[in-house]
């Protein structure tokens, strides 16, 4: 299947904006991966950070990774959505500027001010530093997250404006009329997915901004009291929605890129529309599975958390994964690292939700909550899912059309994949062996898992380096590929 001529021209401005997004993403990603390796080494007994340093790096890794992945996947979404509606490049770049501002504030708060309240900034830890960080450091961290949130909010407002202008409403761009039997062409996948993302993430960011502002006020006015259970609900609602939205943005790359390789279009069926409509609701309702060990939370919310966790796996597996498999099956697909990464991304997502759903079972959660089982499942669908989809998009933009992939491309792909699987396996196995998450020091009997994890991390970093290099060296090809 040749894919030389299918692309619509992308003018220079938006093209460069997308490239700048991806370049920023890769650089942040690499740095944060090195942080991840340092943490794993610390747990393996190679003491480079010390406990205080470990928790600072943990805070940076969490916030930095979530931010980087959000940035990269929004580039995927924006690039493909542009084909259908008119988006503002200015707003897109403003989001990047606010992201960079936020990153400076966050990194400054952590590494200058000593802040180590974790990216989940659970109240009242940031306000209770025990001499390890200053008020200003916590404020800087809060303001950094707020800046990033505001940037994304502006981006979603622009997207909402464009979708409403083009389709006459968000219900329509979500494909609700066709879902309920109205004749006519449903919107393309990129439009449906973007609509879902902007709805849920706007709500998520507003909740996040609310608790961030309250935390900021409380920092300087302790008399302004916050209820810790409410704070936790708001934070996990925001955190869960925001990180999940990255998957729903990146998956647009799957819908758009895979068909070029298989020669089979991604059909928007009613099942597809139903899945996205259902996901819109479920993503908003599922966050109580983060609070299953808060016995004071109403039991109905716990049960809701378990029910929705189970059902929200269905659209993933039965629509996107099944759809991708059907699209590829006996299509004589030509594998290169672009199609390979996109396909790997679907696998990482589909397989990663399995340990996640198991952990969302209340009785299992009593022995898995806050063990390394949790980083085990989320690295599965973030590293091998979202990041893989993003790498697929980057490889596709910079593909060498005549030459195909070289040895180093394939080496990068397999090092990343093998390292990623080993990294996830080491986390999951540790979790099943009761090893706590977020521990700077591990018991001697756990050190072997962390050592394996360190080797795996080094492989992932090596693979990512090769792919980043290919991306930067291939940038001159982007113009040919998409113009």
């Amino acid at each position: 299947m040749s894919d030389t001529t299918m692309e619509m021209a992308v003018p220079r401005g938006p093209r460069n904006a997308v490239i700048t997004y991806l370049a920023t993403t890769v650089v942040v990603l690499l740095l944060m991966m090195v942080f991840g390796l340092l943490m794993r080494l610390e747990q393996a007994g190679v003491d480079l950070l010390g406990a205080a340093g470990f928790y600072q790096v943990l805070t940076a890794h969490g916030a930095g990774m979530v931010g980087a992945v959000a940035l990269g996947s929004s580039a995927v979404m924006w690039y493909f959505l542009r084909r259908h509606v008119e988006l503002s490049t200015g707003v897109f770049l403003l989001n990047l500027a606010l992201f960079l501002l936020g990153a400076v504030l966050i990194l400054g708060g952590i590494f200058v001010g000593g802040f180590a309240g974790a990216w989940t900034f659970l109240y009242p830890l940031p306000q209770t530093p025990m001499g390890l960080w200053t008020q200003a450091a916590a404020a800087s961290f809060f303001l950094g997250l707020l800046a990033i949130g505001v940037g994304f909010l502006l981006l979603y407002i622009d997207i909402a404006r464009a979708l409403i202008a083009n389709y006459g409403g968000l219900g329509r761009s979500l494909g609700l009329p066709q879902l309920f039997g109205r004749a006519g062409n449903p919107p393309p996948p990129a439009v449906v997915a973007s609509t879902m993302v902007l709805i849920v993430n706007t709500l998520g960011i507003v909740a996040g901004a609310a608790i961030l502002s309250m935390s900021l006020i409380n920092l300087y006015q302790p008399g302004f009291e916050i209820d810790s259970l409410w704070a936790k609900n708001l934070i996990y609602f925001f955190g869960h929605v925001f990180i999940n939205a990255t998957i729903y943005m990146a998956v647009i790359g799957v819908y758009e890129i895979l068909p070029h390789y298989t020669g089979r279009p991604w059909k928007v069926s009613r099942v597809f529309l139903a899945a996205w409509a259902a996901s819109t609701v479920m993503v908003l309702l599922v966050y109580p599975h983060h609070l299953l060990m808060d016995f004071s939370q109403p039991t109905s919310l716990h049960v809701l958390g378990q029910v929705i966790s189970y059902t929200s796996g269905l659209p993933v597996l039965l629509v996107t994964a099944w759809g991708a498999l059907t699209n590829v099956y006996r299509s004589d697909i030509r594998w290169d690292i672009a199609s390979g990464f996109v396909f790997l991304g679907v696998f990482g997502w589909a397989a990663g939700v399995i340990p996640a759903i198991i952990d969302a079972t209340i009785v299992v959660n009593t022995v898995m909550h806050n063990t390394l089982w949790v980083p085990g499942h989320f690295h599965f669908y973030l590293l091998l899912g979202v990041v893989a989809m993003m790498f697929g998009f980057m490889a596709w933009l910079t593909r060498a059309q005549e030459k195909g992939d070289g040895f180093f491309d394939r080496l990068g792909f397999w090092t990343f994949t093998g390292g990623g699987l080993a990294l996830v396996a080491a986390f999951l196995y540790s979790g099943a062996s009761s090893v706590p998450r977020r521990f700077a020091e591990h018991l001697p009997e756990w050190a072997a898992y962390a050592q394996l994890g360190s080797v795996a991390a080094a492989l992932v970093i090596l693979g990512t380096l090769l792919l980043a290099l290919r991306f930067f060296l291939g940038l001159k090809r982007v113009a040919n590929n998409v113009a």
Binding site: L122, D294, F295, L314, L325, I354, V367, N370, Y429, S433
Partner: protein
């Protein structure tokens, strides 16, 4: 026990998913009629949906009977103990218990969020609840073996989080 079930279940499900992706990736020969293939695939998907529903629903309902909530604070014949988390130590009103008789841990925190988790002598996690300022969570657990148990903190609470350890003794 629950840990190994979870691990095995994950392996049992992830392996076939992986195999399916590999099998599809290298499937031959190219199909002449992609539409026909898709129709068959989606028919299979509908079947899978109903099978999943039929298998998962009973398991799901069964797990709900095992929920750890709703301990009765008025209950008689339990060993009641107050647990308070501090940065970075546990304060327990009592740390010796009898085997076979339910213990009610009434868990709260003086400062930030902590996680009250009980480990056995092999460092296997037995059960846990959150320690949250302003709230008291009642965790009921019956020790079945005499011996020494460890309490670890399972909610990140600052620089000495990993060192916030206590010991429980359970006797006949």
């Amino acid at each position: 026990m629950l840990q190994s079930i979870s691990l095995w279940l994950t392996i049992l499900l992830v392996v076939p998913v992986t195999a399916t992706f590999l099998w599809v990736a290298f499937s031959r020969p190219a199909a002449v009629d992609a539409g026909e293939l898709a129709t068959r695939s989606y028919r299979l998907r509908d079947w899978t949906f109903w099978v999943l529903l039929a298998v998962v629903t009973p398991v799901f309902l069964y797990t709900l009977t095992l929920m750890p909530y709703g301990a009765d604070p008025e209950a008689e014949g339990v060993q009641a103990v107050n647990v308070t988390g501090h940065m970075w130590r546990w304060e327990l009103s009592q740390d010796e218990f009898r085997v076979g008789e339910p213990v009610q841990f009434r868990v709260t925190s003086q400062d930030v969020n902590h996680g009250f988790a009980i480990y056995d002598e092999d460092m296997t996690l037995l059960t846990q609840t959150q320690a949250m300022p302003g709230y008291t969570n009642i965790l009921e657990y019956t020790f079945e073996q005499p011996g020494t148990y460890q309490v670890l903190c399972l909610e990140y609470c600052g620089v000495a989080h990993h060192a916030m350890v206590a010991e429980l003794t359970v006797t006949e």
